[in-house]
Amino acid sequence: MSQAELVLFLEASVRLGIPLALAALGETISERSGVINIGLEGSIIGGALGGALGALAFESAGLGVVTGAAAGVLAASVFAVFAVWLGADQIITGTAVTIGGLGMTGAIYQARFGVTGTELSLPTLAAVRVPLLADIPIVGSALFDQAPTAYLAYLLAPTLWYFLFHTPYGLELRAVGEAPDAAEAAGVRVLLVRLATTLFGGLLAGIAGAHLALAHAGTFAENMSAGKGFIAIAVVVLGRWNPVLVLLAALFFGAASALQFFLQALGLDLAYQIFLALPYLLTLAALAGWVGRARAPAALALPWESKR
C-alpha cells in the first residue's frame, strides 16, 4: 500500500466508522442505564428517511440532520413506551421497532417516490476541513476533513466519558443500570432516567441515519441502514461501555469495512461477498476474544417496576 492508498484507506475507515460511532455512543448511555435498544436500527433508518425528507423540504442538509434526529427520537419513543414505561421485554420490543421502522420508512418512501425508486438527489453534508489539524501527515485529512457529524462524535466521546464517570448525574445513571432498586431507594427516578437515555440514544441514532443519507450516499434507499444498528450494539460491547473506547471500536469496525475496497485494490483474489462478510466475522472474533474480561451493567435488559 502506497502512502496515498493508506490515506484513502484511513479516510474511508473514518467515514464508515462515524455513523456507527454516533449510534453506539447513544447506545452506550442507554445501556449504562440498563436499557438495551435493539430497535436502534429502526431509529437509524428513520433518521435516514427523516433526514432525506427534511433536507428536501428545507433545501438544507443541516436542517436534514435536525429532522433526522427527530425521526430517530420518534422511533425510540415507541421503544421507550413499551420497554421502559410498560416494562415489556427489551429484546422483543426492539426487534418490533426495527421491523416496523424498516417497514414504515419503506412504505413512506414508496408512497412518496414510487416503487421503482427514482434516484433521489439530496443536498449533501459537505466536509469541513479543520485548519492545521487536517495538515498532519497521513492521519490529518482522514480525521479532520470530514462531515460536521464526525466532529460531533469526536466531541461527544470524551464529554460523555466525563459525564458518566466524573459527575453526580453520571453516577446516578450508572446506578440505575447496576442496581435500580437501590437507586430508587436513594431517590433517583429510575424510569425517568431510562426514558431520557433511551430518547438520547434515538437522537444520536437518528443523526447517524441522517449522516448515512446526507454525507455518504446523497440519497435514500430502502433498508440502507443495512444492520448498522446491530453492529453499533456490538461496538458498545467491544468498547466495554466506555464512550472513548466505543469511539475507537467504531473506527476499528469502519476500518474492517474499508478493507474490502483496499484488499481488492491490492489484487487479493477473494470474492466481493467475503469482504462484505468480513466486518461481521471480525466483530464476532473480537467479541469472542475480549468480552470475557468486560462486564455489562448488572441490570441490562431487565424490565424494572417501581417498588413504591
Binding site: 438495551i36 435493539i38 415507541v78 413499551f82 410498560l86 416494562g87 415489556a88 421485554d89 427489551q90 429484546i91 422483543i92 420490543t93 426487534t95 418490533a96 421497532v97 426495527t98 421491523i99 416496523g100 421502522g101 424498516l102 417497514g103 414504515m104 420508512t105 419503506g106 412504505a107 413512506i108 418512501y109 414508496q110 408512497a111 416503487v115 430502502e222 444492520g227 446491530f230 453492529i231 450494539i233 456490538a234 460491547v237 470474492a271 466481493y272 461477498q273 467475503i274 462484505l276 462478510a277 461481521y280 466475522l281 466483530t283 464476532l284 467479541l287 469472542a288 468480552v291 470475557g292 455489562a296 451493567p297 448488572a298 441490562l300 435488559a301 431487565l302 424490565p303
Partner: protein
C-alpha cells in the same frame, strides 16, 4: 453482555393464548387502520384487497397463502422453541440460509441417489447446517458468556453474504450468467401435497413437526425442563435436578436445525435453486409468528398461515389499493407490540388484584 432473561414472554395455556391472539389481531387492525387513514389511504379498500389476495378462491389460498406460510411456520417453530427456553435466537434468518445452501449442494451433487434417499438427505443436511450455524452463538454464550442476541444477528449477515457468494461463485448455474445456483436433481424435490396446486409436502413436514414439538414440550421430561429453564434459569439451576446448560444447548441447536430445515424445505419444495434474496426476512417475521401464537407449536401453524396470508395479500393490496408492500413490516411490528402490551397490562391487573386480595392499599 448480560445474560438476557426471558421474563416477559410466558408460555400460556391454549385458551388464554387464543384469546390473547384474537385481541392482539383486533388491536393491530385498529392501529393499522388509523395509521393508514393518517397516511391518506383507505383502510377498508386495503383490507378488502388483502383478503382477496390471500383468500380469494381455493387455489389462491392453497397455492399462494399456504405455500407462503410454510417457511413462516417452520421458522416460527424454531423461534418458539428457543424463546421457550429463554434463548434469544434472533438468528433464524442466517440459519435458514445455511440450511438452504446445504440443501442445494446435496440436491445437486446427490443426483445419482433415488428420491426416497435423496429427499431425506437434502432435508437432514439442511437441518444439520442450521444447527451448525447456531453452534457458534451457542458456544460463545455457554463458554465465553457472550450474549446470543448480537451474535445470532451477526451470524445472519454472514449467512446472507455466504449465500450471495455461493450463487456468484462455487455454486453458480452452469452458464455463469444469473446470480443463482443450478437446479437440484428431480429426485431431490419434495412431491406435491395437493395435485393440481403448488402446495408441496413441506406443508406436511411443517404440520408434523408442529405436532411433534407440541408433544415434546407438553409430555416429555425434556419439555418440562425446557419450560422450567425458560421460566427461571436460576430456579432451575438451584433445584439441582436440571442441567440448564444442556437444556440451552439442545434447544438452541434444535431451534437452529428447524430454521435450517425451513431453508431446505423451501429449496426442495418450491424454488429448486438458491437465489441471493431467497428469504424476505422470514427469520425476523418468525418472531411475530411465534409470539402471536403464545409460543405454542400448534398455535404457530395458525399464526404462520395468518402471516402467510398477510404476505400473499400484500401484492394485491399494492395493486388494488395503492398501499406499498413494505407496509407488511409495520403490521408485523404492530402484532408484536400488541402481544407485549396485552401481556403487560394483564400482568399488572393481576398484580393489582393480588394486592387488593391481601388488603394492601
Amino acid at each position: 453482555m448480560a445474560d438476557v432473561q426471558a421474563q416477559s414472554v410466558r408460555s400460556v395455556g391454549a385458551l388464554e393464548s387464543i384469546l390473547t391472539g384474537a385481541v392482539a389481531v383486533a388491536l393491530t387492525l385498529l392501529t393499522g387502520a388509523v395509521l393508514l387513514l393518517l397516511g391518506g389511504f383507505d383502510p377498508i379498500a386495503a383490507g378488502g384487497a388483502m383478503i382477496g389476495g390471500a383468500f380469494g378462491g381455493w387455489n389462491t389460498f392453497v397455492s399462494i397463502t399456504l405455500v407462503r406460510s410454510i417457511p413462516l411456520i417452520l421458522t416460527g417453530l424454531a423461534v418458539a422453541l428457543a424463546f421457550r427456553a429463554g434463548v434469544w435466537n434472533i438468528g433464524a434468518e442466517g440459519q435458514l440460509y445455511a440450511g438452504a445452501i446445504a440443501a442445494v449442494w446435496v440436491g445437486i451433487r446427490g443426483g445419482a441417489l433415488p428420491a426416497p434417499l435423496l429427499v431425506p438427505a437434502v432435508l437432514m443436511s439442511a437441518g444439520v447446517a442450521g444447527a451448525l450455524w447456531a453452534l457458534v452463538p451457542t458456544l460463545m454464550h455457554l463458554r465465553l458468556g457472550v450474549g446470543e442476541v448480537i451474535t445470532t444477528i451477526l451470524m445472519n449477515f454472514v449467512g446472507i453474504y455466504l449465500a450471495a457468494y455461493m450463487v456468484h461463485g462455487p455454486l453458480q448455474e452452469a452458464r455463469g450468467v444469473f446470480p443463482q445456483t443450478g437446479p437440484i436433481a428431480e429426485a431431490a424435490r419434495l412431491p406435491m401435497l395437493l395435485p393440481g396446486s403448488r402446495l408441496h409436502w413441506g406443508f406436511g413436514v411443517a404440520l408434523l413437526l408442529a405436532a411433534a414439538l407440541a408433544v415434546v414440550v407438553r409430555r416429555t421430561r425434556f419439555g418440562f425442563e425446557l419450560r422450567a429453564v425458560g421460566a427461571s434459569p436460576e430456579a432451575a439451576a438451584v433445584s439441582g435436578r436440571i442441567d440448564t446448560s444442556r437444556v440451552l444447548l439442545v434447544s438452541f441447536l434444535g431451534s437452529g436445525a428447524i430454521a435450517g430445515l425451513a431453508g431446505g424445505v423451501e429449496i426442495s419444495g418450491l424454488t429448486h435453486a438458491l437465489y441471493e434474496d431467497l428469504s424476505p426476512g422470514w427469520g425476523y417475521t418468525a418472531i411475530a409468528v411465534a409470539l402471536l401464537a403464545g409460543l405454542n407449536p400448534a398455535g404457530v401453524v395458525v399464526t404462520g398461515v395468518l402471516f402467510g396470508a398477510l404476505q400473499a395479500g400484500a401484492g394485491a393490496m399494492q395493486r388494488d389499493a395503492g398501499i406499498p408492500a413494505a407496509w407488511v413490516g409495520v403490521v408485523e411490528a404492530l402484532v408484536i407490540l400488541a402481544v407485549l402490551a396485552i401481556d403487560r397490562i394483564r400482568r399488572r391487573a393481576g398484580a393489582l388484584r393480588a394486592a387488593g386480595a391481601r388488603g394492601d392499599e
